[in-house]
Symmetry: C2
Subunit: 344 residues, 2 copies
């Protein structure tokens, strides 16, 4: 059973398709009577405009593309949720792709989205992405692009991020404030800007407090599927190499939880022996024992904000206005919990 077309309605009512089209869109230059008749008939025949035809006519699809490095990930799935919910409000649908942290895939997918002629693109970069030509291609086509969380500073487009460096500084300062004398850092892999910035924030906080920076206190975790295990491994290594450390700022909650688990197993008390601050505010962090002090990273809000920004740029292009780019920095918050305060 083929879907109803404008033409069918027009023939049934013995009027032109132009009039039917206008009536359906509520144009003022159609008589009330015709309008009512058309609307009734359309409803009766279960008419839905053929979006393919509409897209072709209007050159827009009311669809945007989204590329994330990984879907099965609490932070990114929260971002996705924020994007979709906001898009739905504005009548936009979202096509989602996942780059698996691969530059090659990311490039291919961006191309796919351009071929699909989505109205705009949201992206968080893969760790493997070092070359940014594919992003410039998007901009060259005059297609709105908004980057979030994992961005390339060099690309001239809107960005929605948090201030990783500042957040890390705050986290480290908190450890200093509660009296930690020797503070280690479990950082993420070397490439993405986020783990670099968090590392720099940690380092800066030490220096500002006249505490020596010691590179042997910095442990690297790849932060993939093995996060939890890496946390455990690094915790054990740390105890072997520096058993006088009394505070750790850890790149990611999951790694932090791994570390805490290991410490508990080895009889090291958190926070009495070692205080720990994580990063992301994963829901498990408020629920495990001891609850984890962490930096709240507002994923859902980031998704909403990123879509809003993209939407604005889509409108600007539609109206032939010059597109403005904005860098939006969302607030993070230190959430103090049991892993840094002794319950007395």
């Amino acid at each position: 059973m083929k879907p109803t077309t404008l033409k069918q309605i027009a023939e049934l009512l013995d009027i032109s398709t132009s009039t039917v089209s206008k009536a359906l869109k509520g144009y003022s230059d159609v008589s009330e009577k015709t309008k009512r008749l058309v609307l009734e008939t359309a409803k009766l025949m279960n008419y839905r405009p053929n979006s393919f035809a509409v897209n072709l006519r209007t050159s827009e699809s009311k669809t945007i593309g989204l590329i994330v490095p990984e879907i099965v990930h609490h932070f990114f799935s929260s971002v996705i949720k924020g994007i979709i919910s906001q898009a739905e409000k504005k009548g936009y649908l979202v096509i989602i792709l996942q780059s698996n942290e691969s530059y090659k895939l990311e490039k291919k997918q961006l191309d796919l989205l351009l071929s699909q002629r989505v109205d705009g693109i949201l992206i968080s970069l893969a760790n493997g992405t070092g070359n940014f030509d594919h992003l410039n291609d998007v901009l060259l086509q005059n297609k709105p692009l908004v980057m979030f969380d994992k961005i390339a500073k060099i690309i001239k487009c809107s960005k929605v991020i948090i201030d990783d460096r500042k957040a890390a500084y705050t986290a480290t300062q908190h450890l200093v404030d509660i009296g930690c004398k020797k503070i280690a850092h479990f950082r993420g892999s070397l490439l993405p800007q986020n783990s670099i910035d968090r590392f720099l924030g940690y380092k800066q906080a030490l220096l500002d407090n006249n505490m020596p920076y010691d590179s042997s206190l910095v442990y690297i975790c790849e932060c993939g599927d093995r996060s939890f295990v890496e946390g455990k491994e690094s915790a054990r290594k740390l105890l072997n190499e520096h058993n006088d450390v009394d505070g750790i700022f850890i790149n990611t909650d999951l790694v932090a939880i791994g570390a805490m688990t290991e410490f508990q197993k080895l009889g090291v008390k958190v926070p009495e022996d070692i205080s720990i601050v994580g990063f992301s505010n994963w829901f498990m962090s408020s629920v495990i024992s001891p609850t984890l002090t962490t930096i709240d990273q507002p994923g859902y809000q980031m998704g909403k904000t990123a879509f809003k920004r993209l939407y604005k740029e889509i409108q600007q292009i539609k109206r032939n206005e010059t597109v403005t780019h904005k860098k939006i920095v969302l607030d993070t918050a230190l959430v103090v919990r049991e892993s840094t305060i002794e319950a007395k």
Copy 2:
């Protein structure tokens, strides 16, 4: 800068658009020379077919719709990942919507996807869905529909599920096998078929082993955001009301982990005092201490299978074949870990 069209290439080479189109599609009735020329020019001009026009011509969009109850959820995000990865292989894009467990939203979103004229729809039902007319609407439009995990038995379409009842039976039987004499069950909310089936599997296993079924041993957890906390609460209640229980089969890993945490806090030993089996095989289950015995629920594979099935039906409709419906039951496996075996 407007994208290149067939016409522009045709004019530049002084040939017809028909020939250009055919050359680009590699049709055999175009001379090698023309073909080469066209391909080169197209590449040079960065030609991409206008998908809106192609969609209109071919009446397909190479896009499918997906509705899940919740995106920020380990099981569903795994399913999504499976769907997307498989779809990408076949050149399909995926539009994702989330019903938030609301029937009303689900209905609206299904309508949106039909309006968008996606080539097919994958759906896992909201807990709130009791009426199924909106699903029949999809089938009436001759649009392929595949349901997964949370399905409506009454709808005549393909389904990809696990055998919840059997899996629950296996879980409970395992508790019997290791010597549990009084086995409780923390079940999910009353509506979705899954928690009903898991409950029935639990009950059946008891009866088959000549153990009395006692409804006061069944605790209900809504399993939303509060899962972990509900696990703790139910654990505490259970200890008050039935302190001789020595085994629990729990609807979901997250609830089970909550319960274990509470037991540990209250000095009840797992598995020595109480053995616990969860459900889903969430990644944390293999990582916490004690590691959790659970039923592995193959989310990624379910996503892949659901897409494959949908793809087959899309092909059938394209070829005007009769569409066949299939119910595919994926295997689950009992994963035995420390929560049910004493490390001696």
